[in-house]
Chain length 248, copies 2
Amino acid sequence: MADIKLDKISTKAPKNFEKEKVKAELPAIYQELDALQNILYAQSKYAVLIVLQGMDASGKDGLIKNVFSTVNPQGIMVQSYKVPTAEELSHDFLWRIHKYAPAKGMIQVFNRSHYEDILVTRVHKMIDDATAAKRMKAINDFESLLTTHNNTVILKFYLHVSQEEQHTRLEERIRDKTKQWKYNEQDFKEAALRKEYFKAYGDCFKHCNKIKWVIVPSDQNWYKEYLVATTLRDVLKKLNMQYPGMKK
Amino acid sequence: MADIKLDKISTKAPKNFEKEKVKAELPAIYQELDALQNILYAQSKYAVLIVLQGMDASGKDGLIKNVFSTVNPQGIMVQSYKVPTAEELSHDFLWRIHKYAPAKGMIQVFNRSHYEDILVTRVHKMIDDATAAKRMKAINDFESLLTTHNNTVILKFYLHVSQEEQHTRLEERIRDKTKQWKYNEQDFKEAALRKEYFKAYGDCFKHCNKIKWVIVPSDQNWYKEYLVATTLRDVLKKLNMQYPGMKK
């Protein structure tokens, strides 16, 4: 595929989308998602893995809350990946990921993921390019294992925010007492590495794109939520799932 | 405490509760729960464990869907306990339970639980009374470990349905194509063991009641959901949780 250059891609909703109209559509979309998830769980034929990536304050947490709290919590699990623990580091980088691969019938959301092992690690020069290339190969093999051997549908979303919007949100974390716990003094330093992150993401999109990335313009939460919810709904619809009937 | 005799306890909403009034109150209660869960997660001081027990078709799944899909899926996990696997059976009966004890900041829901090890196992005479007594002691010790050493608030709910309502729901599982996958031909046989189950539950309530059981009249879903949601809300409120402010 053609290279994806994040600095050339808009972080805003396309012009033909209007906030009020989209917001009015959301409840019906969530109802569809809820119904589809119910069949997914009942049939237990397919697994769904949703990978969320994006810089700090790109709105991953809000997305999870608003889009995924609409489905049955019994059928969805969220795993947040932070700095690896000592135990995790004493294994290959996919060990902690594989553990939370979704079972058939389940939707698993990764809040950050195995991609951090070729993102933050590259930006901070913890690994060299040769290691990154080997990891990308391993990631492709791993994703293929899940899709081929456990009917896993993988969706990969990159939440794309502008520098201005990111700064506004980080500053809000300082001002707003209910958000201060999210703030880390490292956040602004990481945000300053935007160019380096875009380069590392560019490589991700280029070399780990057998399962396509969806770039989600995320400056406006309503559009971000709409795009993720409809993408998931459309993918689930295409599976033509059926209630399985009586157990044999 | 005085013995709890399930056959003497109503499975219906108390007379002073009216369906339409209660249903009108629910959205505000769910909003409160959502806000409280947000602080629970942010503060990460307390953990919450919700144990759901009840006979087949007592409405555990529906409760999870309706009450717990109102909170952020990032802060809640649901674990369903089924017949133990070979690996689980090769450990003590609390091994598979401890694995899913909630981390601080999290709400963990158990759909069935360690209590099955003194319920279904006793009804089917897989263990004798002496073993049951030892398990009850172990359960009390385990629950005390979680409360004492990880600030875990434990809520234990028994969903109480009448035999008539249970039969109606099981028959619906046969008729309704979207519910057939839930039906198991064993279900009616288990339902016929009502007296034996009540006896085993009676022992549970008597000997594992340091953390009190809440008996939830569950013939009407609206009341069941109301009682569980308000009980949880009141418990969370009493914790006087606070947003933690900036990380130090």
